[in-house]
């Protein structure tokens, strides 16, 4: 039986190194935290992000690690349960009133799962919540405008920051959406 690709196989492990590197780099971290403060001044709260692994074999430790990095950037990071359905993730995002959901999917399911999640959010009338795919842009969104991380009609983003600038761009997108 073919093994289901797990979170590490789908998402380049270097991505974790990128996130850690940004966090360890004082000036870059400072830039992000300053942008977060601006966000708070605009919206009265921190950017709130739901990190949700849907891939079979996704490790809780990995997700917690990312949550911890986001908290160091100044975000409020909700950690979602592993392997939940798009409907369940959408409900959680709605109740926690997050700004963005970052999902980890199996490579072969990413198109289906993101589509279903966007649909579930629409059903709950929660279209103000952005969805981002963790890792390099999947094939079906590769023709998107990568500079702004916006995909299609801006419903789907890619969470793949290489520097503070990318994180700030994401916050700019959240600001526009809200």
């Amino acid at each position: 039986m073919k093994k289901e690709p797990d979170i590490h196989e789908h998402n380049d492990v270097r991505l974790f190194d990128d996130l850690s590197a940004i966090t360890r780099d004082g000036p870059q971290l400072d830039l992000i935290q300053r942008r977060v403060q601006q966000f708070i001044l605009s919206f009265g709260r921190r950017p709130r992000i739901l990190v949700c692994p849907t891939a079979p074999g996704a490790r809780k430790q990995t997700v917690n690690h990312i949550g911890s990095i986001l908290a160091q950037w100044g975000f409020d990071a909700d950690i979602g349960p592993i392997e939940k359905s798009p409907e369940q993730i959408a409900r959680m995002a709605l109740e926690n009133d997050v700004h963005i959901i970052v999902i980890f999917c199996s490579k072969n399911l990413i198109h289906q799962e993101t589509t279903e999640l966007l649909s579930a959010l629409k059903n709950l009338d929660a279209t103000d919540i952005l969805v981002a795919v963790f890792g390099p842009a999947p094939e079906f969104v590769k023709d998107s405008d990568s500079r702004s991380n916006r995909v299609g009609k801006a419903d789907l983003m890619v969470f793949n920051p290489k520097s503070a600038k990318d994180v700030i761009l994401m916050l700019d997108n959240l600001t526009r959406k809200n």
């Binding site: 935290q33 977060v36 708070i40 919206f43 009265g44 709260r45 921190r46 809780k60 917690n64 949550g67 911890s68 986001l70 908290a71 160091q72 950037w73 100044g74 975000f75 409020d76 990071a77 909700d78 950690i79 979602g80 349960p81 592993i82 939940k84 369940q88 409900r91 959680m92 709605l94 109740e95 926690n96 009133d97 709950l124 009338d125 929660a126």
Partner: protein, 323 residues
């Protein structure tokens, strides 16, 4: 959206509106706070009947697992359960990791449950102080049991105990130094103590711990004329003892209601709430005072460099604000 939109939505039990209302309540923006106050005023007449239960315990005691099992038992009995989980924020970045739903997987998906984790600090020094308002939103939305989970041992426990009807302290068996390690203040706040993880080969140790806590409580003055704090055992894993805890909570409510103590408690809590809002308002005004703003950094520098003592600096700043 105006306040009436949120009031109507909460009363109609619309999840999205409940969630957005809580966000407004927790917001640091003055415009949001104003709207939130109108919402709370509008919802207040529809609240007050719910069981407000605070749950605390040291990290690792199994609070979230307990709430998952306890909450599932309550929804099976037909209750609507809201869980307000308070998670710690980083003192350096201010950000938080909010992970409670990972340990409440069944409850978080139940139609009669609503779970909202909130960071302890956030933008204006502590969301826990907004938990009262959040409880009112949930009560008005029809949740008749409100579980407020707090982290570890600290100031948040005192704060939460002052806003709930029943304060449950979860403990673990088998740690020999437990009694020494427990802050007396936490035991004074408790309406019941439950030794969790009383299952498998831990049952004997749980019973032993129960006796130790019961002895310790005998040495403490009771805070109620009609209620002696019981020490119970339970297992969130096997669900043993959960029904007994619920029966205890209901008995407590009945006894305190009959004696008029529940009304007194809520009146006293309303006064506490008022004072906490006064304190919050004073602090807010202090930091917005232009004279204080102009002088603040200079004073901080002077204290940092040892040129002024902290007490003198504080007096100077307070004097500036009092001008």
């Amino acid at each position: 959206m105006d306040a009436q939109f949120y009031i109507d939505g909460v009363l109609e039990q619309k999840r999205a509106v409940i969630a957005k209302s809580i966000t407004l309540v927790e917001s640091s923006l003055p415009a949001h706070q104003e709207t939130a106050q109108t919402i709370i005023d509008g919802l207040l007449p529809h609240s007050g009947d719910a069981m407000r239960i605070g749950i605390t315990g040291v990290p690792g005691v199994g609070k979230s697992t307990f709430i998952e099992s306890f909450g599932m038992m309550l929804v099976a009995q037909g209750h609507n359960v809201a869980v307000l989980a308070v998670d710690p924020s980083s003192s350096r970045s201010g950000g938080s990791v909010l992970g409670d739903k990972t340990r409440m997987e069944k409850l978080s998906m139940h139609a009669n449950a609503f779970i909202r984790p909130s960071p302890t600090s956030g933008t204006l020094g502590g969301v826990a102080k907004k938990t009262r308002e959040t409880m009112i939103v949930c009560e008005a939305a029809g949740y008749d049991v409100i579980l407020v989970e707090t982290v570890g041992v600290g100031q948040s426990e005192t704060s939460v105990a002052s806003m709930v009807d029943f304060f449950l302290v979860l403990m673990l068996a088998g740690a020999g130094d437990e009694l020494q390690g427990i802050k007396k203040g936490i035991l004074e706040l408790a309406d019941a103590i439950a030794i969790n993880k009383a299952d498998g080969n831990n049952i004997d140790r749980a019973m032993e711990a129960r006796n130790e806590y019961a002895s310790a409580l005998n040495l403490m003055e009771s805070k109620s004329l009609v209620w002696d704090v019981p020490v119970l055992t339970c297992s969130a894993l096997t669900k043993d003892g959960l029904d007994n805890i619920w029966a205890t909570i209901r008995e407590h409510r009945q006894k305190l209601s009959d004696a008029g103590e529940l009304t007194e408690k809520r009146q006293s809590q309303a006064i506490d709430w008022m004072w906490s809002l006064v304190e919050e308002g004073l602090k807010d005004r202090f930091f917005k005072d232009p004279d204080v703003k102009n002088q603040l950094q200079k004073t901080i520098d002077a204290v940092e460099n040892g040129l002024t003592s902290p007490s003198v600096a504080a007096q100077e700043l307070l004097h500036l604000h009092g001008k």
